[in-house]
């Protein structure tokens, strides 16, 4: 066992166990309470807005590598694509990574097929815009297509400010979401709604109520409770000058 990683392994196993337990419990009872998340409630309103205005919407994914925020963002995209296909609105998707582009294509294609509107699906609506090219690309897309709605989800860096303000200039309503705390102020300043960190991971549960999603959210919440407990117990031990707890966490 690698020294200093026992605590992480215990946490990982506890989260995995909670995930499966909550999945099984939800399958049995079907009961779940998730607090209201304004940013997710606003998604359908935003789709309604772009449909009524007859203008397109842009879903811009952020990221320099495919990681958990990317997967969580694609979960939101899946819901948005299904609604857009249903209401026959126009959606442009910008994928910043080459491996994300075919995944987004699959999501869009499935959404249109499920809505029985496969003929409306246009593969060109999913665009791969890598690195710095995405900055000019997205700004151009907003202006050319006069988007009425923009959704910015994922692992964003300084482009958060560029994209969010450019969409504002184009007159678009926006929903942003990232777990990168250093970009959150920019989303808060520029977007109508912002999903803060864990909220983008809760989005899947909120939007779909699928058992494995529910299990994931429950595990996340259990992890938070555990973190608070560790902080409180750690503070008490530290205040008493006892380093047993700290040494235990270092194992």
């Amino acid at each position: 066992m690698v020294s200093g990683r026992v605590g992480s392994l215990v946490l990982l196993l506890a989260l995995t166990g909670t995930l499966f337990y909550a999945m099984a419990a939800f399958k049995k009872t079907g009961k779940l309470h998730v607090r209201r998340i304004a940013g997710l409630d606003a998604i359908d309103d935003l789709i309604g807005r772009v449909t009524e205005m007859g203008r397109p919407m842009a879903f811009v994914l952020g990221g320099t590598e495919l990681e958990s925020q990317g997967f969580a963002s694609m979960r939101v995209l899946s819901h948005v694509a299904a609604q857009v296909a249903r209401y026959e609105a126009k959606l442009f998707v910008v994928a910043p990574l080459p491996e994300m582009e075919p995944m987004c294509q699959e999501i869009m294609k499935t959404a249109y097929m499920t809505a029985g509107k496969a003929e409306s699906y246009n593969p060109s609506d999913v665009m791969y815009m890598p690195g710095d090219a995405s900055k000019a690309g997205v700004l151009g897309l907003y202006q050319r297509e006069k988007v009425a709605g923009a959704m910015l989800f994922g692992n964003y860096y300084y482009e958060s400010m560029l994209f969010a303000e450019a969409a504002n200039l184009a007159g678009a309503s926006q929903i942003g979401g990232t777990a990168n705390y250093h970009q959150l102020p920019f989303f808060v300043a520029s977007c109508d709604y912002t999903l803060i960190a864990e909220e983008i991971f809760a989005a899947g549960t909120y939007l779909s109520k699928e058992p494995s999603e529910v299990g994931g959210l429950t595990a996340q919440e259990m992890g938070k409770a555990l973190a608070v407990l560790v902080m409180v117990v750690g503070s008490v031990f530290a205040t008493l000058g006892n380093d047993v707890f700290v040494n235990l966490l270092k194992k």
Binding site: R5, T16, D132, A179, I196, G216
Partner: protein
């Protein structure tokens, strides 16, 4: 099989890398390091796929003379020329570096510099005092900004102290809360991907 294959690959590779992270077993460590190396190769294939897709999209745009198709010609010519230059010489050749430093870098820096103007316009909206929360944001923001420059200390020595307190106490507390919540979300999402419970990226998650 279209969905089971990727799920199986995610499960096996994910578990090996995970076990390699926690345990010191030499064969597992070696397998884990090998998988991480493969990742770079797979990413290179994905990049080639992305490049091919972009060429296909712009090629279609040119052949169908869709709106603004002329710009696609510039893209295709630039892409092919620079790719050829990189392959036939090297990415450290003077010609390749000249184009990178004199065309790409200035364009990238220009985009980056836009941030300043966008930040100013975003601040203008965010700092407008519409309610008491905006008021707190405005006062705190102004104090922190002044605290970072000499002008703040010249006005009052309390300003840099207040600024340092805001950064070290409430700001750090909020950042850590966000980081813990976000990190737990990332861990759980990663577990879901490794165990094949997250399927959105495969045909939109529909079985």
């Amino acid at each position: 099989m279209k969905r089971e294959g990727p799920r199986l690959v995610a499960l096996v590779t994910g578990l090996i890398v995970l076990i390699g992270h926690f345990f010191t077993s030499a064969p597992i460590k070696a397998a884990s390091a090998e998988i991480v190396r493969w990742r770079i190769i797979v990413a290179a294939f994905a990049l080639a796929l992305g490049g091919f897709n972009m060429l296909r999209l712009h090629g279609n745009k040119i052949s169908q003379k869709r709106p603004n198709w002329q710009y696609s010609i510039i893209f295709v010519v630039a892409f092919v020329a620079y790719f050829t230059l990189g392959v036939t010489t090297s990415t450290t050749s003077p010609g390749y570096k000249y184009i990178w430093q004199n065309l790409y870098q200035p364009a990238a820096s220009t985009m980056y510099s836009f941030t300043l103007f966008y930040m100013a316009s975003a601040c203008w909206r965010a700092f407008r005092i519409r309610n008491w929360q905006s008021g707190v944001l405005m006062v705190t923001g102004a104090a922190v900004l002044l605290g970072q420059v000499g002008l703040g200390a010249a006005i009052s020595p309390a300003i840099p102290k207040f600024s340092a307190w805001v950064i070290a106490v409430p700001n750090a507390a909020a950042i850590r809360a966000i980081t813990i919540g976000g990190s737990l979300g990332m861990v759980v999402m990663s577990i879901r991907v490794i165990l094949g419970l997250e399927r959105t990226y495969m045909a939109g998650g529909k079985d």
